[in-house]
Symmetry: C2
């Protein structure tokens, strides 16, 4: 009784952290929207305003949706593993498509403005993270959703997949922080050091991005909040363990 | 026999990762030294060159020594826990002092050059990470080295301490990446987009910082590489468990 009460309280803490992460995530999107929409002139797919699509798409795709995809196994803990995998993979597809739109926006903007592509450390990190994210998605799909892979391969790769997922979210947030710094220096010039409202807003956006990352990171690394296997999965995994260890189920 | 061979092979993999992290760490320090020493005019504690002390100290203190402090429990796995704690805490003291020198350098440089303090997102993140690092050190010292704390408090706080340690290293690396981006834009201006040697070098430094972070992160998050308790610690922790659970050692 005490044990299950403890578990219940643990999960209600988790719900609090998940709710905070969503508030932070929506705040990040809203502030990026206000920054680009109000302070930088709004959004368009043509002309100079095309750049403004880039920060908004990267924050929605590579931060908010990416982060939420990591939470799927915690939040949908009573759904079947297959359902969770589908939601996890689908959120990443949305993240990928939205981030791709954001990347196309900045490439077209650079081409139209005769700015060289991929010269800054922000762009180097960004393109590396995006390629690694795509690779991780393809490998994840092939191993965890495509029916061919063996359970042994899956369980061996799983901890790597989890580690690189958290690393890529972290690196994506780091890349956003560099992007904020770069954009503020280019747009505000010397007045950035006087901290006008736009500077304070975008600096605060950076701190909120860090807070979002640390909240998601905390939720997904707590052992006690891990999704426990459903009863039918537990039976299956015991059968599998028995088979691979070469014992019959009746043996100790 | 097979099991211990597997464990031995696991540890030799770990040694490979630790060696790689040290090569990466030394490369980061060397490249920062070359960047500031060769491309930015060298080091001095007076005048404009005082700024150049800042990146070098932050990279040595908040990245290399901080990262190495996290490895102590993996590398000195056969030392007593107390010895490991002393090495871990001492490395962090060196990290703190060197980082403090780096922070003083940039504050004095800003004061002398009439540049406002703490306006950029780089500086906001940097100062937040430094304050949190100091707080984590003080709490860690009070709980894990000072004799007063109970084992129950220690074990409850430990996972938080580990999580925030990894988070702070990650945030420190993110702050360095912003610093690199900022410095390149300020120093190279428009020529940054033509990627001169200095730009390529400093961009590569950014990628190496990411690689250092991911290598350290990987080593310290592998369950199978965790320091196993020494035989005498195992006996102690069983006594403690028995005492707190209210059973006598002879009971099942």
């Amino acid at each position: 009784m005490e044990r299950s009460l403890g578990r219940y309280q643990g999960l209600s803490w988790m719900s609090g952290f998940v709710a905070s992460s969503q508030v932070l995530g929506l705040a990040i999107i809203a502030i990026t929207g206000v920054w680009m929409g109000h302070f930088r002139g709004g959004f368009a797919w043509e002309g100079a305003l095309q750049f403004n699509v880039h920060p908004l798409c990267m924050v929605i795709g590579m931060v908010f949706l990416f982060g939420d995809a990591l939470l799927v196994y915690r939040v949908f803990r009573n759904e079947s593993k297959y359902t969770s995998k589908i939601i996890h993979g689908t959120l990443h597809v949305f993240a990928f498509v939205i981030a791709l739109v954001g990347i196309i926006a900045v490439f077209e903007n650079h081409a139209n403005s005769k700015i060289p592509h991929l010269y800054s450390i922000h762009s180097w990190c960004g393109i590396a993270v995006f390629i690694l994210f795509f690779s991780q998605w393809v490998i994840g799909f092939a191993l965890f959703l495509f029916p061919g892979a063996s359970n042994a391969h899956r369980s061996r790769y799983k901890s790597l997949h989890v580690f690189f997922g958290i690393f890529l979210l972290t690196a994506a947030i780091g890349t956003c922080l560099m992007g904020i710094n770069e954009k503020l220096i280019f747009s505000l010039g010397n007045s950035y050091s006087q901290l006008p409202v736009e500077g304070v807003l975008a600096n605060a956006l950076g701190l909120l991005l860090l807070a979002f990352g640390v909240t998601i990171g905390y939720i997904v690394t707590r052992d006690e909040w891990k999704r426990p296997p459903l009863p039918e999965e537990q039976a299956l995994s015991m059968d599998f363990k028995t088979l691979t260890e070469g014992d019959s189920p009746s043996e100790q």
